[in-house]
């Protein structure tokens, strides 16, 4: 009997078109002379540029330093000259700060080990590992892009299990699947490193049952890695959500508003485990990742090793070119990804996929009235009431939205997916959530300031 999470969930069509396509190193076409590197590639404060216009940079050199506790370093994925540091159009069409590099040659920083051999021995101590991961700018590679070192900085004894997310429950995407198949040893060593960093002896790799080859291979290989167990899971979206995956793998539920560490779990993606292997064992910062370029209208759905900063257009070109009947290009998967406002943008640390949709697929159905069928309630993996939350968000009743735990929404989109009236439930909820979170943060800041003022008065 396969495990899965208990509440809600949906079963969208898989469409893993690129599952059989082996990882290919993406070569930037010669006609692309410059690349743009965003300074905000992670959740939290944007990184602060530490290079100036005209500086020469090498591959792997720090070009922007973490701008706060929750932030990450950015390293140059290309060698060349810094041409511009200015705000240009980002994924959503809004201005985003980017460092433009004019490419010259391919000169790497000397400290990076570029050999292909696998290095098994872990020499660094736990603190050194976490520090190294921070320096190398590793973020959650599943798409949420949370700086990895922040999640790994746990108190001794606090963590009991490491859970590795190899679920890839988003339809279409195959980046993690290919990585597990082709870099399995490295991923397993990466997991060992992560286990050492947080001081746990057991790790679970959660993999959905549609990736039988990956389950088989990793189960075989993990025999040589004591403590690592592959956990096959029943297919259900959104199993890749942190709280859902913890529930599925070790049967513990994270309370509303709490973090996974409250139940002794730390969750990391397989992509992150691989990046950690490269950072710790090979001294290589996060400058490239697997990008799955896929979609029904596309000629050759592929999985590429692409450097950060590679233009989205160039990747689509390499996968067979822009098809005529493409109506929408989405960054990420079809469930949680966001449509690009412009294709003239680079990929970033969280770009797990570029998905092309044709007109028929991308079109939303006509919005009708809510018929109170409560399908959204039954599929919500967080046990919320999406129909209610969307309504109170539309009416801007923020207090009521907060009372009904809008902040717990993981924005998985199961509610909008299942709604027979095609109501854009998540659109409304997302807006409500961001407003309510803003109110909550402001309240916390005000409370903190008041407490500090009282403290200052006392002294």
């Amino acid at each position: 009997m396969l495990k899965t999470f208990k509440i809600g969930g949906i079963h969208p069509e898989e469409n893993k078109l690129s599952a059989g396509s082996a990882l290919k190193q993406f070569q930037l076409p010669a006609d692309i002379k410059e690349v743009k590197i965003p300074v905000a590639q992670h959740i939290g404060a944007p990184a602060q540029p530490v290079v100036a216009v005209g500086d020469d940079v090498k591959v792997g050199q720090v070009i922007a330093q973490a701008g706060g506790f929750v932030s990450a370093n950015i390293h140059s994925p290309f060698s060349g000259k810094v041409k511009k540091i200015e705000a240009t159009t980002g994924d959503d069409g809004k201005p985003a700060m980017m460092i433009t590099i004019a490419i010259e040659g391919d000169e790497w920083v000397e400290t990076i080990d570029r050999s292909t051999g696998i290095k098994r021995e872990i020499t660094l101590s736990a603190e050194e590992i976490v520090k190294k991961i921070g320096e190398m700018g590793i973020v959650g590679m599943g798409g949420a892009r949370f700086p990895a070192q922040v999640k790994l900085a746990v108190k001794p004894g606090q963590a009991q299990a490491l859970i590795i997310n190899g679920v890839e429950c988003e339809p279409y995407l195959t980046a993690d699947h290919r990585l597990m198949l082709e870099k399995s040893e490295e991923v397993l060593i990466g997991i060992k490193i992560l286990m050492k960093a947080i001081g746990v002896t057991e790790a679970y790799i959660g993999i959905e049952n549609n990736k039988k080859d990956a389950i088989e291979l990793l189960t075989k290989l993990s025999a040589g890695y004591p403590g690592i167990k592959v956990q096959p899971l029943k297919m259900k979206y959104p199993q890749g959500g942190e709280k859902q995956l913890i529930d599925a793998c070790i049967g513990r539920q994270v309370a509303s508003g709490a973090l996974p560490i409250s139940v002794g779990a730390v969750v990391q993606n397989v992509g992150t485990a691989f990046a950690v292997y490269e950072a710790v064992q090979k001294n290589k910062p996060l400058i490239e990742r697997v990008v799955c370029v896929t979609g029904k209208p596309l000629q050759n759905p592929s999985n590429f090793w692409a450097r950060i900063g590679t233009p989205v257009k160039a990747l689509i070109e390499a996968a067979g070119g822009m098809p005529e009947d493409c109506a929408k290009v989405i960054g990420g998967g079809p469930m949680m990804g966001r449509a690009f406002a412009t294709l003239d943008v680079p990929i970033h640390k969280g770009s797990s996929g570029i998905l092309l949709m044709n007109n028929q697929e991308s079109k939303r159905g006509e919005i009708a009235n809510c018929i109170r069928c409560a399908k959204c309630v039954s599929v919500c993996p967080m046990g919320l009431e999406p129909f209610l939350l969307s309504k109170v968000s539309a009416k801007q009743l923020w207090d009521m939205a907060e009372e009904n735990h809008i902040a717990d929404c993981i924005e998985c989109g199961s509610c909008s997916f299942t709604c027979p009236s095609n109501r854009p439930l998540l659109d409304y909820i997302r807006r409500g959530k961001s407003t309510v979170m803003g109110i909550m943060r402001a309240r916390a800041a005000a409370a903190k300031a008041a407490a500090e003022a009282a403290e200052a008065k006392k002294n």
Binding site: T89, A327, P424, D427, Y428, R430
Partner: protein
Amino acid sequence: MEAVLITIAVLASLGLTAAFILYFVSQKFKVYEDPKIGEVEEVLPGANCGGCGFAGCHAMAEALAKADDISGLVCPVGGSAVMSQVATILGKSVAESAPKVAVVRCAGCTVGESANRQKTLDYDGAKSCAIASTHFAGDTACSYGCLGLGDCVKVCQFNAIKVNEATGLAEVDEAKCVACGACAKACPKQIIEIRYKGRVVKDVARRVWVSCVNKDKGAVAMKACKASCIGCGKCAKVCKFEAITVENNVAHIDMEKCKACGLCMNECPKNAIVATFPAPPKPAPKPAAVEATGTAIPKPAEQPKPVEVPVQADKQQ
């Protein structure tokens, strides 16, 4: 018979006791409310629109009764007429306030052949500007302009703002607008501004404004929209009253200083300055083609002296 009498006696004594208790309690725990609050609330419009900044008309009435100086408090719906009535009730003086109106600072028509902005994206999500603007910067090349999904229409209690299907832009009905400012607050692009209605000359309230908020550099703004302000500053140079400033690549006309002469309209190379009256004749032969509400005045007045100034409008501009 006896039973009836006893009943009456008991009930009467009970009633009397209760009446005494109620009387004493009401005396003891009396909450004093200024009777003027009620009187003031009576003359307020009762729309509870919140345009004054208070939660509703009752809250406004309380604030008015409490304040020593009520000149800072204005009911945008009732305007000067209501405020002078309030002043009479309270025996306080009130500053005459000029009537205001909402203006939409975007002329980037997105529909039809005469469109100023071309649609670059097809948005099919929830019909709400606030939600759309969390997804992207806008469905045209301009990331500052009107999205036309009507968040302003939804909040307007006076039916005074509509999205014109022929242009895809929000439009204010001057006759219905009470300048409560609800639309300005609801607009995520912040393109709605509350401005003075302007001095009425020949039945037209004369006002002029820059109908663009695009902060991009000139070249970018130029490409994005045919009616964009490019921040060239020509209008600021020609203005005799120093009413125009250019900040962040976009011009703004200070409504306190503007005399609505219309000279700037002729100067604007992009026709981004819009007015409720036709532009004055240019010194050059070519006449300007800028006009908004289309109230044709055969002989455009230039620098008009105050002709007929309604009582409530003498402090404007």
